[in-house]
């Protein structure tokens, strides 16, 4: 009898213990919401920009998790090095979608990688954002899940032609690297020239990527008859700096003014001036930020976070990456869903105060138009480098 009582007491104690444990145990951690980042993190891809992009994503996750995450769940990053190989980037995408179950993706940087990955989202669906991958096809192909909060060749080239018209240039030598960026800029300039400024004559000079000596190619500028009154450079770093130097060496500049389709030279002004010296004086550069540009409240908040961490003002395209993450989080919070189709439908009609202006997407269903899942709220500014070592260039267009 006594033995039975002991057994009963033990059983009751064990049951009670187990019951107390289950009642008082801490709740299991919420499953994280995963965001993919496929960006260049090693050469020969532009890993300098890639590291800044990753830093932005890390800062955002830290910022959002400090606010309690999203729908009570923490954010978590899944990172892949895109290299310059679309196959590698797509394998990252496949892994992130099928194994990591990411909800959103910061897509690759270079268009030559971003475009195949955008295509691959039809097979591995996920909401993908790009900002500074300029190839028109990224939005012109009307992918369901791909959104661009940034620039496209066709939009930038329109700005270039508007500037050339405003400045009165009549004959341009357009040096274009053989890449989606260089060729895309050329195609865009030809289109807008015909529509906006048919009097303008443009001569294309293609330059292979990866060379060191471009004198054979640049000689074509020198032999143009009549000579061009402007040289338009659609080349990325480091080639744009090398060409500036060689144009000067060949005596083509400073006689003929030059304009670059983006302010690549000023990614690092110190090394730019050290490398090109006098050859950079007079260079006109296009950019999407200006000393006269004002941040929104959201922009101020991000700029402060970035300055605290990195020690300088964020480049404008980094602000756009911050915006893409804010869009994704707002979509998840407002729809209370992580379903790709629900999020995609919501983002199509997003209305949000971005860091540099209001964000609303164009969604023209006409086949082939780039105005699909495309933000067009940025401004193109033109600056002129007036002297060696200049860091704050003079804005010449639009007139400040």
């Amino acid at each position: 009898m006594q033995a039975i009582a002991i057994v009963v007491i033990i059983v009751v104690a064990v049951v009670a213990g187990v019951g107390i444990y289950y009642v008082t145990r801490p709740p299991p951690p919420a499953e994280p919401i995963k965001i993919g980042v496929i960006t260049p993190l090693s050469a020969p891809a532009d890993y300098i920009s890639g590291k800044l992009i990753l830093k932005t994503a890390e800062l955002f996750v830290e910022y959002q998790n400090a606010k309690g995450g999203v729908l009570g769940r923490p954010l978590e990053l899944v990172v892949g090095d895109q290299t310059l190989d679309a196959g590698t980037a797509i394998s990252h995408l496949a892994r992130m979608v099928t194994e990591e179950r990411i909800v959103g993706l910061i897509g690759p940087w270079e268009s030559m990688v971003a475009l195949p990955v955008a295509e691959a989202t039809t097979k591995y669906p996920v909401v993908m954002f790009v900002t500074f991958s300029w190839a028109d096809d990224i939005t012109a192909k009307h992918y369901k899940y791909v959104f661009r909060i940034g620039v496209a060749n066709l939009l930038v080239s329109r700005g270039t032609i508007e500037f050339l018209k405003w400045a009165g240039y009549k004959r341009g030598a357009a040096i274009c690297e053989e890449s989606p960026y260089g060729i895309g800029m050329w195609d865009g300039m030809v289109k807008w020239k015909d529509e906006l400024y048919p009097e303008l004559e443009l001569v294309q000079i293609l330059t292979p990527m990866g060379k060191t000596d471009y004198t054979a190619e640049l000689r074509k500028v020198a032999e143009m008859s009549p000579p061009p009154d402007i040289i338009i450079m659609n080349n990325n770093l480091p080639h744009v700096n090398i060409m500036l130097k060689q144009l000067h060496e060949m005596g083509i500049t400073p006689g003929i003014p030059m304009v670059t389709s983006y302010a690549f030279p000023l990614v690092d002004p110190k090394s730019f001036w050290e490398t090109v010296g006098e050859a950079g004086v007079g260079l006109i550069m296009q950019d999407f930020a200006s000393p006269f540009m004002k941040y929104t409240a959201a922009g101020e908040e991000f700029a402060n976070i970035w300055k605290k961490e990195v020690g300088e003002t964020p480049p404008v395209w980094i602000c756009w990456y911050w915006d893409t993450l804010r869009i994704l989080v707002k979509a998840i919070e407002d729809t209370k869903s992580t379903d790709i189709d629900v999020l995609s439908d919501y983002i199509e009609d997003i209305q949000l105060e971005g860091t540099t202006g209001f964000i609303k997407l164009e969604n023209d269903p006409t086949p082939g138009t780039i105005l699909w899942h495309q933000w067009i709220g940025f401004t193109l500014y033109f600056f002129k480098a007036e002297s060696v070592g200049a860091t704050t260039e003079t804005q010449i267009y639009p007139p400040p």
């Binding site: 090693s42 050469a43 020969p44 890993y47 300098i48 053989e178 000079i205 293609l206 330059t207 292979p208 990866g210 060379k211 060191t212 000596d213 004198t215 054979a216 190619e217 000689r219 074509k220 770093l237 480091p238 700096n241 090398i242 130097k245 060496e249 060949m250 005596g251 990614v267 690092d268 110190k270 090394s271 730019f272 050290e274 490398t275 090109v276 010296g277």
Partner: protein, 293 residues
């Protein structure tokens, strides 16, 4: 109808390019000629030379001309060390496929050195001040004095190297090692010493090119890629290991680039270079002046 002045202009430009290409290719040709080793890290010796010149100018505040000897020394030291640590196994040990080993080892070294350069020197572009500021009009084309200096030094170096290999005791020892290491050993030549020295000098020549061309082009971690491509094409076209052949090949490449860019299109300049290489190798598998082993 193409006018004579245009032809003369193009030929002049092509020859100037050729001299620079030859300068890039000398070191790799020398190494292959003596050791029969494909050096895929050649571009990085070029890069190290450029950075050595840059930091000499920056920290010692000396004229660019005085930065060339440290550049050469850096290239030599790196070449010498790499030969001792990595390449020596190709002939000192019984490796089954020494050629493949050397190729992969130098390729890995190339990637390693590029990444180290990126971390140590930073990713951004640098440049040394001109060796001699100014430009000259050479017939119809304008050239910087730095390019002229590179051209002259390229020719002097080629002639000196040719003389060194043909006429000096060390040069003859190198040729003996290139032909038969065991035979050379029997005659009292130390093949290991000859190999270390020739590899070091190959590195020094690449670094000389890097230092000289730093003011003409620019300095960045993967700046050696294009010189590597040009060097391999020049070496293969000229005949593996033939210094005279690589000089002739550099002239052909320079002229091909300029004429193809002008008359076919810039996009086809490199294609034309490879077409010339393929046709040459099909007709003459050993290259222009190469010999069968």
């Amino acid at each position: 109808m193409i006018s004579l002045p245009v032809i003369v202009e193009l030929v002049t430009m092509g020859l100037v390019l050729a001299a620079i290409y030859a300068l890039m290719a000398i070191g790799i040709t020398l190494i292959y000629g003596i050791m029969k080793v494909s050096n895929f890290a050649h571009g990085e010796y070029y890069m190290i030379g450029a950075y050595a010149a840059y930091y000499t100018v920056k920290f010692l505040n000396v004229p660019t001309a005085l930065s060339i000897p440290p550049a050469i020394a850096a290239g030599f030291a790196l070449g010498y060390i790499v030969e001792r640590l990595i390449i020596r196994d190709t002939y000192a040990k019984k490796i089954e496929r020494p050629g493949e080993y050397a190729m992969l080892a130098t390729l890995a070294l190339s990637i390693l050195l590029q990444n180290i350069a990126r971390e140590v020197f930073g990713p951004f572009m640098r440049s040394t001040p001109p060796l001699m500021p100014g430009r000259v009009m050479l017939y119809l084309i304008t050239l910087s004095l730095d390019r002229i200096i590179a051209l002259v030094i390229s020719i002097v170096t080629l002639v000196a190297l040719y003389y060194f290999i043909r006429r000096t005791k060390t040069g003859r020892a190198w040729r003996a090692v290139a032909q038969n290491k065991v035979g050379a050993l029997v005659t009292g030549i130390n093949p290991e010493k000859a190999c270390s020295l020739s590899y070091g000098i190959g590195g020094a020549l690449a670094a000389l090119a890097g230092g000289l061309l730093a003011p003409v082009y620019a300095i960045y971690p993967n700046m050696g890629f294009w010189p590597l491509i040009i060097s391999f094409v020049a070496m293969t076209l000229g005949g593996l290991g033939s210094i005279e052949g690589s000089l002739i090949a550099a002239v052909i490449i320079g002229l091909t680039h300029v004429f193809a860019a002008t008359f076919i299109g810039s996009s086809y300049a490199d294609v034309a270079m490879y077409v010339v290489l393929i046709i040459t190798v099909v007709i003459r598998p050993t290259g222009l002046l190469g010999r069968r082993d």
